[in-house]
Each structure stands twice: as C-alpha cells, then as structure tokens.
C-alpha cells in the first residue's frame, strides 16, 4: 500500500510541480490509520525524495529556472516558520475559507 501511495504521488508531483502531499496525507490517514499530524510530517519526509527526483527530471528537460527557484524557495523557508507560528495563534476557519476562495479565483484565471 505504501508503494502504491508513492507511485500515485510521484506521477502527480512530476506532472503538476507539486509535492504530492495533497494525495499522500489523506491516503496515509485512510489506508494506514495515521493521525493527521503524523501523516503530514511523514508526507513531508517522503516528498523530499519525490521533489528531488521530479526536479532532477525536469532539470534534465531544461525547464528549471534556477535563479527564480532560489529567489522564491529560500524566502519561503522563512515564510514557513512565520506561517507555522501564526497557525497556532489564530482561529483559521474563516481565513481558510477565504484562502480556498482565493485559490479558486487563481484557478479560474489560469484556465482562461
């Protein structure tokens, strides 16, 4: 089952440029009985392999813009600390709905 989870997540990751956590986390919870936090943490560790493999493959196709990758990825590390700290201080329910709406708007803009 773990192998199947990895196979599906890898395809998603290489195709869409995402880590695959959106698939790994719910599948670890559903099929392996993981608690949510453990699932997210374990997914993060698994994605390390996925992202490196997918990035290497895409780099082979000549599509990685390394400068922009660094400009976005390195500040994002600091941002992740900020986000984790804020997460513990707010009632994120309404903010989550707003963010979902924002993602939907971005999706529509990308599609048209």
């Amino acid at each position: 089952m773990l192998v199947a989870i990895g196979l599906v997540a890898g395809l998603f990751s290489g195709l869409f440029g995402v880590g695959g956590g959106i698939l790994i986390v719910p599948m670890l919870i559903a099929f392996r009985g993981y608690p949510a936090k453990t699932a997210m943490a374990t997914s993060l560790a698994a994605i390390l392999f996925t992202a490196v493999a997918a990035a290497t493959s895409h780099a082979g196709a000549g599509n990685v813009a390394w400068k922009e990758g660094a400009l976005i990825g390195l500040p994002a590390v600091a941002g992740a600390y900020v986000g984790a700290a804020v997460h513990q201080r707010i009632d994120s329910r309404r903010v989550s709905l707003l963010f979902a709406l924002f993602l939907a708007i971005v999706a529509v803009r990308l599609a048209i």
């Binding site: 290489g14 995402v18 560790a45 390390l48 493999a53 979902a100 993602l103």
Partner: protein, 135 residues
C-alpha cells in the same frame, strides 16, 4: 532587480500561506511563477526545485518533534521516484496551455476540498486525542 524583489516577497508569502493552511508549497509556487511571466513548463519545473529547501527544513523540524515515521516515508518516497520521472515526461509532452489548464483544474479541486473540509469542521472544535502519535 525589482522583479527579483517581487519574486522574493512572493516566495516569503507562499511559504507563509503553505505552512498556515497546510497545503504544499508547489500549489502556490506554480501560479506565482506563472504570474511572474514563466510559462507553465518552467513554472512546474522551478516549483519543484524551489520546494526542496522548504521541505528539507520542514522534514528536519518534524523529525526533531518525532512526528516522522521514516521507514514509511522512505518506502513512499522511493516508490514515487520512477513515476515522478513519468510525470515529467507527460508534462513535457503537453502544450503549455494544456499543462496550465490541467494545473488550474487541480487547484480548483484543492480549493473545493479545502472549503468542504473547513465547513465540516466544528467551529472551535478541540482536536481529538491522537493515539499512536509520538510525543
């Protein structure tokens, strides 16, 4: 120069949002890169490279908390390597517009799923006890 600063600010914001809402950095990196003028193929590829430092730090932190089941993570991670390559081959074979639209569909699905999950949660519910979670 200005665009570099914009990219850094967006990176900071993307990292914050992804940690705040528990979505992967890539979901935010890809549209960010497209809005910075990259085509979809470059956005997808660059997003994967950009997320590596974020994942490294996150995995390191979570390992210190004892929340990572490394054995399972290695099995899932290694299994994903060949299909990640396959995903790249498929992505590269798609036209720019098709790849961008496919990503838009994924993003919309995540937005809907996130809204549904949030609406289902009891407001101010206490998280249930999680047996088996490492201290």
């Amino acid at each position: 120069m200005t665009q570099d600063l914009v990219a850094m600010a967006l990176g900071l914001l993307a990292g914050t949002l992804s940690a705040l809402f528990g979505v992967g950095g890539g979901l935010i990196f890809v549209p960010t890169l497209i809005f910075l003028g990259k085509d979809a193929h470059v956005a997808v590829a660059t997003s994967l490279a950009a997320m590596v430092p974020v994942i490294l730090m996150g995995a390191w932190r979570q390992t210190r908390y004892g929340a990572v089941r490394w054995r399972d993570a290695v099995v899932v991670g290694l299994a994903s390597v060949p299909t990640a390559k396959l995903g790249e081959v498929i992505a590269t074979s798609l036209s720019n517009t098709t790849l961008q639209r496919a990503f838009a569909v994924l993003l919309l699905a995540v937005a809907v799923q996130m809204a549904v999950r949030t609406l289902r949660e009891e407001p101010a519910a206490q998280p249930a006890a999680e047996p088996g979670e490492a201290p």
